[in-house]
């Protein structure tokens, strides 16, 4: 029987984490994501599943707790919002370098600096291009509903362990704070179904010691390690996920993820009612990015517009995919303000290149 609930996106992440059999959560309060740890603490997950939840002294500490715990093969996660995620970047780079699986949730707020606590999608570059130092990538998932907030938790761990790479759920204050109906996933047992041969849990007689490190003083070894990482990132293309709405006959394509995608759904609906063949391609994974699908669509539509709560970040990846074949526009809202469907609609009608 379906188990339905009405909850906030942040709560859905927390509940889904318990149900995904997550072993540990380490976090630090920050608006607009504090409900994640609050919900976890209230739920007494140590009684429900044995999950450890610890409030750390800083985001720096919490990401390094994740580093240590992830190195023991456990399912561990943290969550924060933009300034906190910036503090974590060193640790995330280490986690990527040491090839550890884990989940990081970023409920984005407007920046730069302390910025605003209102929703934003301005951390796209930080999330998809690395964020910390060195050549690395995260697996980045972008939920557009409370349901996907719940569903992407287990999916993140599946991908994180498949590639031994940190996964990041990139969402924002809008999806995190809004309440929707959500079908809760079933409770998984808190046992690891993944390879444990590399973990640091004590050297037994039957194996060499395991070491979790991102250090290679020998540049030949670091070179080989970098090549291996790059090949891994390339191979992630097979797990690209996106949703296409009204794309089959579209002659103008909107590209949006997360909260902007929800707004663009309405834009597509209204545009269609006015006879304009507008479609929406919604990336569910931002890394890997649906480059091939966008390139394919570029051969069929007359123009594209990337709609983001930023000054134009994802639009760069769209342009790379389109490679000059059709005009690519950007429409964005800044500073924690949210564009309305009417705002986007007006921009679409200005730029629309249809059959008229």
């Amino acid at each position: 029987m379906k188990e339905l609930a009405l909850m906030k996106g942040n709560e859905a992440i927390a509940e889904a984490a318990i149900r995904a059999g997550v072993d540990g959560y380490f976090g630090y309060p920050i608006t607009p994501q504090s409900e994640v740890m609050e919900y976890l603490m209230l739920q007494k997950p140590e009684e429900r599943t044995g999950m450890v939840v610890l409030q750390a002294e800083s985001e720096v500490a919490s990401i390094n707790m994740v580093y240590g715990a992830a190195g023991t093969g456990k399912k561990v996660m943290t969550s924060s919002s933009s300034p906190g995620i910036s503090l974590m970047q060193e640790g995330i780079s280490y986690i990527a370098g040491a090839e550890l699986p884990c989940l990081i949730v970023n409920v984005v707020r407007g920046g730069p600096g302390l910025g605003t606590i209102q929703p934003s999608q301005a951390d796209y570059f930080q999330s998809t291009k690395g964020g910390g130092h060195g050549d690395y990538r995260l697996i980045v998932l972008a939920p557009a509903s409370v349901q996907e907030m719940a569903d992407f938790v287990d999916l993140s761990f599946e991908l994180a362990f498949k590639y031994r790479n940190p996964a990041l759920i990139l969402t924002d204050g809008l999806i995190g704070q809004m309440m929707e109906k959500v079908e809760l996933p079933p409770q998984k047992e808190r046992v690891s179904e993944f390879d444990q041969s590399w973990v640091t849990t004590g050297k037994t007689k039957d194996r060499e010691r395991n070491i979790i490190t991102s250090l290679n003083l020998d540049s030949d070894k670091q070179y080989e390690h970098n090549l291996k990482l790059q090949a891994k990132y390339k191979s992630m293309e097979q797990d690209v996920m996106f949703e296409k709405i009204e794309c089959d006959d579209a002659d103008f394509l909107l590209l949006a993820y997360g909260s902007s995608a929800r707004i663009c759904q309405k834009v597509v609906e209204v545009s269609r009612s006015r006879g304009k063949k507008v479609g929406l391609l919604r990336p569910q994974t931002l890394f890997p990015f649906p480059t091939q699908e966008i390139a394919r669509m570029a051969r069929r539509v007359k123009g594209m517009m990337s709609v983001e709560l930023s000054a134009g970040q994802m639009v760069e990846d769209v342009k790379l995919a389109v490679n000059g074949r059709v005009p690519v526009y950007h429409y964005g809202m800044l500073g924690g303000k949210i564009h309305s469907p009417d705002d986007v609609l007006q921009a679409v009608e200005e730029k629309y290149i249809g059959g008229y």
Binding site: G68, T201, K205, R209, T213, L215
Partner: protein
């Protein structure tokens, strides 16, 4: 004469510690790190806990500690070893988890992680090697560099007024409720080595008995960073470091004790 003829079983009074690997130590001749490594590994062997031990290597001279200690190891970002250890220990409460850190790592960049792991009473062990200098990066001033002591970033000597005075983080963390056993040791002579080994044993037993944090500071030398011969550095350490960083137990069984 062949080596085998010299090494008669009855003459064997010392052997290589089995839990030290065959890798050549990267430490300078005369440095105390190798001795501390060996003592920890001897105790791990004697307690029979190798299969349950996870070490955390820091950033600093001992960044490659995992090359030398034959136990599972995680290498941590600069200063974050107590947080990394916390993550491991919380999920594996029956394993032995220890950090191995220098003064820059533990008492400067990692101050927050050190204090909060100690305050929470994480059931881990912290081994802290204090040689009053950043050795790995070439002898810069550390939080524990003595007043007037020269380093590459205090070339005219540490000026307490402009650079801040050295501080005793070991005494500081001993004030916290979560710490159970806090002591200061040295490894430059046979006597101190024997005492230090006993302290290491006690620290890991405290962890075994789940009593809270055990914390051992080893006041040590850095003959390269101090620009002295190994012997001179040990004499200088006794004359200058020991008065400021006095040897002995600071907290035992959760109770503060007078420093000897």
């Amino acid at each position: 004469m062949e080596l085998n003829k010299i090494i008669k079983p009855e003459n064997l009074v010392y052997k290589r510690t089995p839990l030290m690997t065959d890798a050549n130590l990267s430490y300078c001749p005369g440095c105390g790190h190798g001795t501390v490594h060996r003592l920890i590994m001897e105790v791990v062997e004697e307690m029979g806990i190798q299969e349950d031990t996870i070490a955390i290597a820091p950033v600093g001279c001992s960044v490659l500690a995992y090359d030398f200690m034959d136990v599972d190891c995680a290498q941590a970002a600069h200063g974050r070893a107590p947080a990394v250890a916390t993550g491991i220990k919380r999920l594996w409460p029956d394993k032995f988890v220890f950090t191995y850190q220098g003064d820059g790592d533990l008492a400067a960049i990692g101050t927050a992680e050190t204090i909060h792991a100690c305050n929470r009473g994480e059931n881990i062990t912290i081994f802290f090697v204090n040689n009053g200098i950043y050795g790995m990066t070439g002898g810069q001033m550390a939080p524990t560099t003595l007043e007037g002591m020269k380093s590459s970033t205090s070339p005219y000597g540490r000026n307490n007024e402009t650079m801040g005075p050295p501080y005793k983080i070991t005494e500081l963390i001993a004030q916290l409720q979560g710490t159970y056993y806090v002591t200061r040791q040295a490894v430059h002579k046979p006597g101190p080595v024997r005492k230090a080994k006993k302290a290491i044993r006690k620290a890991l037993e405290v962890q075994r008995d789940k009593k809270g944090i055990s914390f051992i500071e080893f006041v040590s030398n850095c003959n390269s960073g101090w620009k002295m011969t190994p012997n001179d550095s040990n004499i200088w350490m006794e004359e200058n470091m020991f008065p400021f960083y006095p040897m002995g137990d600071i907290k035992v069984d959760g109770e503060l004790v007078k420093s000897p």
